[in-house]
């Protein structure tokens, strides 16, 4: 077992050494954040990441008990021509993209910028969107956003239809066939397993501890804290160093803020993209139209009542008239 408090203290002291109060966000601040009513946010300073992979290993180790344990053979799913088994249970050690057994991986890129070649390493995982479409559009209530900003998929409820992956701008959640609730319903005709992604180590956060990837990082790449503080810190560093920010506005705002010495458009051009390998494209707010339509939805009942009052008045008048005949 790792001595969490010890490591926390080490980070704590490092923070003091750095001489920056806002960078110093020990575990107790993490626990305090939800009480202050603010969402938790992370800052990833990409200038620091050396791609050592400690965070990836820590994530896998700490979250192993949450990983799927499917039993074979998997029930046949119809129509077989369309519904494919997605099985990662025998490729658990894949760590160069997101899988149900790998919720975090390191993306690397070489970018020429400002007359220099930069080697940038990027920890990639769910960004924990503030108005997460994966959670909003899940038809089954399996994906949800907590008040502390963590977006989670409930593995006991998820049916594995993968709609969350489709509607996520970065296609983050990954599917494992052969586990979950669908097996107990109509496994042949609906569902296909459970979707998995970073859950921001919600259980550790609930205990006032740091997520494993943050705790394990020897370079202190990540910082976590209340969103307003993290955003302020990001802007301060970006201004000081002429760095670039990603995640503050993307998809209507996420609780993961990347800071990079090179523009994200350049990173987006060179990073490997594909299944389980998100890019850095400009992402508009996925739920912006729904936000506008909600006004119409809000007004409709009152308009209906008003129209009803007018109609009832006329109807009563004519009914009264008929009685008098």
């Amino acid at each position: 077992m790792r001595d969490k408090n010890g490591i926390s203290r080490r980070n704590f002291l490092k923070g003091l050494g750095a001489g920056s109060a806002a960078m110093l966000l020990p575990a107790r601040d993490v626990a305090a954040a939800p009480k202050s009513g603010e969402e938790l946010c992370t800052l990833l300073d990409l200038s620091k990441c050396i791609a050592c992979g400690e965070c990836v290993s820590a994530c896998r180790e700490v979250n192993e008990s949450k990983f799927p344990e499917p039993k074979k053979p998997y029930p046949e799913m119809y129509p077989t021509s369309r519904v494919k088994v997605e099985d990662w249970s025998e490729r658990r050690d894949v760590d160069d993209h997101l899988t149900p057994y790998n919720w975090l991986y390191i993306q690397s890129a070489e970018v020429d910028f400002g007359g220099q070649t930069h080697e940038i390493n990027i920890p990639r995982r769910c960004l924990h969107c503030r108005n997460a479409p994966c959670a909003n559009l899940c038809p089954w209530g399996a994906a949800g956003k907590q008040k502390n900003g963590i977006v989670r998929i409930n593995e006991d409820v998820c049916l594995g239809g993968a709609k969350c992956r489709t509607v996520c701008p970065w296609h983050i959640p990954q599917r494992q066939t052969g586990v979950g609730l669908y097996l107990r319903l109509m496994p042949g005709f609906a569902g296909n397993g459970v979707m998995y992604k970073c859950d921001r180590c919600y259980n550790l956060i609930n205990q006032g501890e740091l997520p494993a990837c943050i705790e394990a990082c020897p370079e202190d790449v990540q910082t976590i804290g209340p969103r307003s503080e993290i955003v302020a810190k990001a802007h301060e560093l970006a201004k000081k160093n002429n760095w670039f920010i990603y995640g503050e506005e993307e998809n209507g705002g996420t609780n993961t803020i990347y800071l990079s010495p090179v523009p994200f458009e350049l990173l987006n051009e060179v990073v490997d993209k594909g299944i389980g390998r998100p890019g850095f494209s400009a992402v508009e707010d996925s739920m912006a139209d729904e936000e506008k339509l909600a006004y119409a939805v809000g007004i409709a009942p009152f308009a209906g009542i008003a129209a009803g009052v007018i109609k009832a008045g006329k109807f009563l008048a004519s009914a009264g008239g008929r009685k008098n005949d």
Binding site: L137, A294, F302
Partner: protein
């Protein structure tokens, strides 16, 4: 109380709500329905969700209109039949949970995940019950919603 045009629009609206509602589950692609020429849009979750919102707006307007007319003027002239009452209650539950889903999708609103799950299951469950009721009515013959005065039936 209502005219045939109102009824027709209401029915068309319910059809679109049912179609775009079912389209929120990832099944139209699985069962090749979205492969039928002209039906590809059924596989666009964002598009069908927006259509669901738009027609939901119309449905809310029509429902509140009917309720108001019924509450203010109809009560003394009409009585809901028991099957009409049942279907009206089903509709109201589906509409109310749908409205809650719109609220929870707002940027400034976060319900806790368990509440969201209860809302989603209720919305889906009662919409399915409505489907069953509609099927029942279709095969067993339509029952009127209202016991009303002649000339004021739907």
């Amino acid at each position: 109380m209502t005219n045939p045009l109102f009824t027709r629009i209401f029915k068309l609206n319910i059809f679109i709500m049912a179609l775009t509602g079912v389209a929120q589950m990832p099944i139209f692609k699985r069962y090749y329905i979205a492969d039928i020429p002209g039906l590809g849009w059924l596989n666009d979750f964002y598009l069908t969700n927006k259509i669901h919102y738009i027609f939901g707006t119309v449905l809310l307007f029509m429902t509140l209109y009917l309720l108001t007319v019924f509450a203010l003027g109809g009560k003394q002239y009409f009585k809901l039949t028991s099957s009409g009452m049942l279907r009206a209650v089903l509709y109201l539950i589906v509409i109310a949970t749908g409205a809650l889903r719109v609220v929870k999708n707002l940027h400034s609103v976060t319900f806790d995940p368990f509440t969201v799950m209860v809302i989603d299951w209720t919305h889906l469950g009662f919409a399915m019950l409505l489907g069953v009721a509609a099927m029942f009515a279709f095969f067993k013959g339509r029952k009127p919603y209202l016991e009303g005065l002649p000339g004021f039936r739907r």
